[in-house]
Amino acid sequence: MRRPGGYACSAEPDGRRQECDTFTCAHCNRITHVGPGQRPEDIGGLCKVCMGLICPACVGQVCVPFLKKLDWMEARARFRREI
């Protein structure tokens, strides 16, 4: 894939080496492996709001970038500490 978000390789018992590109979901941070020749619609899609690649579970969901969710997690913890 063009501009992959990561790379996975596996050294198999029979000596083969399997390699594939990966991307990290812009909404949930999950890693998705992209096999050779896979159709884009089978591995998730492109969020037209944040323009990030998303996993199949996040297709059709509201766009909340994962960095925003991290901000919320940290803000919630800060709030709990302060009360």
């Binding site: 198999e12 018992p13 990290t24 919630r76």
Partner: protein, 152 residues
Amino acid sequence: MAKYAITGALAAVSGSYKTVLDVFATSGALRRGKVFDVLIGTNGTPADNYLQWDISRMTADGTGTAVTPNPLDPADVAALATAKNNYSAEPTITANSSLFNVGVNQRASYRWVAAPGSELLFPATAGNGLALRTLSGGYTGSATGGFMYEEQ
């Protein structure tokens, strides 16, 4: 933004998920973490079994053996996050938070490396982090794992 390496092992794999290695923000000084390299394998007697590997989010520590994160640049300061391995009491894992799940032959090794900007992130919140876990239906020996991560 210092980078660190941690390695760990689980003494006995079983049929339910056990934590091999984790890294999490500790109370006090907190920083976000970004895991950008994952390496997994086994070091028991070779045989053909499967191991199911998983990385999920955790929100509270359990009982494990501490691992000291090694700075990739020796000039960097000590890590603020805590890392542990070989858990005897599992950390609190967030349900349905799996970020990575792959089945690997016991004789194989597997590595994942993130491109910059595509790392696995954990918040600067006490007890929150990422746990590398494994299970196997047939293998009961030792499993090993390694993370490289960055503190932001």
